[in-house]
Symmetry: C2
Amino acid sequence: MGVTIRDVARSAKVSISTVSRVLNDKCNVSDDKRVRVENAARDLGYIPNPAAQSLHSSRTGSLGILLPFVSGEFYAEFLNGVDKTAQGGDWLLMISTSHNSEEELRAALKGMYRRVDGLLIMAPNITAESVLLQPHDDIPIVFVNTRCEDEAISLITFDNYGGMREMTRHVIAQGHTRIGFIRGPVMAFDAAERERGYRDAHAEAGLAIDERLIVPGNYSQQSGHDGAVRLLGQRERPTAIMASNDDSAIGALSAIREAGLDVPSDVALTGFDDVPSARFTVPPLSTVHVPVRELGARSIQVLMECIQTRRIPDPPHFSMDVEVRVRAST
Amino acid sequence: MGVTIRDVARSAKVSISTVSRVLNDKCNVSDDKRVRVENAARDLGYIPNPAAQSLHSSRTGSLGILLPFVSGEFYAEFLNGVDKTAQGGDWLLMISTSHNSEEELRAALKGMYRRVDGLLIMAPNITAESVLLQPHDDIPIVFVNTRCEDEAISLITFDNYGGMREMTRHVIAQGHTRIGFIRGPVMAFDAAERERGYRDAHAEAGLAIDERLIVPGNYSQQSGHDGAVRLLGQRERPTAIMASNDDSAIGALSAIREAGLDVPSDVALTGFDDVPSARFTVPPLSTVHVPVRELGARSIQVLMECIQTRRIPDPPHFSMDVEVRVRAST
DNA sequence: CTGTTAGCGCCTTCAA
DNA sequence: TTGAAGGCGCTAACAG
């Protein structure tokens, strides 16, 4: 079951090494035999067994992608960028999701052992260093949107802090002083960074923060909805609500409208990520644009380079620009 | 580079066959040696080389997932179900997306040759038969949401036709007679089925369809927006708009509001899929609930069974129930 | 230019 | 219960 190089050799009446040469080196083979081999291979529908190739070369042609819990448009966009770029380099993708703890991540890492030539790890609630603390395969690893100080580790991020600080400045510039904030997941580094941006912009402006204005969330629409309900129920209702991402902003939007309030005249609203839907909410959502697809594309590009050059990129850390997009919700 | 079975054997002072036995069979090994091997393997951090295992067993431990263009929450949800179930069975996922033509799909199929033990193919714009027409690996294949008549092919679908027919009945029951329809991608089988449901419900009710009420789209928010603009610009404006999926409904919603019209009092609106966001639009979207995550989970489950039993399931075709969810947009 | 051969790492008969 | 040896399919030295 399955045609092997031997079958091709027999059919072309040459040795298996000649077949191998034709299919790889492409040199030192007479035209006569080359043609015979090529025809035989085509007729038989021969495809080299990747396991055998990998066993010999210790390369697999696959890239591993480790993601946290995948939900919503953000990850779909990211994967789009990743997959398209990987296909361009003729790599296959081994994807594993739902790794929120170090333990789960490590298990997944182990599962990918020797099955991939490089790894892309997005782990916002873990530090890159902690993952690499354990002995691991010596394949290149690129971290994305992960906390990482070590300059010996390749990292692609975007400016969670600066983006939210800019957005907060924008909201403050609109005259708001009581600004609600719906947090992201407790353990997520990007959520913490975004909150820091919110806080620092307040400090800059000399505005004190009422801690009751900061409510928990987890990036989901539901949590955004619940967060907004909570904020709007307070005696001194905030005049603006900043959600930690677009999904929770979408949830918040529905809660605001349920409360019979208007956006932006009663309550201004902002998000983060700029997922495709953000342009199509009513009103369109002011948000921080993150080039998500490009993020995926670049991450894979860097990973492919690491694999090729066997060295981490210089500089090892790269941050993609984000940009405040003011639409009609503020 | 890389600990092999030989290293473990040397360290435990046994032969490699004993190591192999301990790690697999678990029988016919003295307790003494078993312990030594287990310790050595643990201390050395030994993980069997999957390429070597695969070369011998011709099994890979991976499942291939072939998807069309991935966008939005639908695929994120689907992948959630898929990944979770696969992890439960200890399978790794090889995912490849953006296969819209038979040619691309076939190339991807070829790329996965011998790298996976089974395939999940979602190809709404291709027939299952056409894919399998070409000689292919004899691994189990499960098609999802694909056109397929052949009972020798395993298929999981949901009722695109019935769902949209029910929804159309609902809209007609609300008294609407001019109902706009925003189509899905031209080549997509599910989009055609949904349109058929729309048409048949009209026929049932004795309502003639003004063909100008059917406008093109491609499931994206933007196309939904553009479609709605087009529909609302007609002299005899429709009093209801049915989008072929939730994303395009979300786009349509924004266009309706831009036109200064209210949903549902001026124009009723419906979607299809019931992605998480559908509950959080303003107003919440009436839509056809598709158990997307369960769809992914079940598909993988069926695939795992096919691999285990080496036979296609009985019955080979399975359709998941969908259900009209009436919310505030109608 | 071409064929023979030795592994890559693992599992599994086959003897002992 | 154990070890030696063959082979999975392929590539790359090594002879010819």
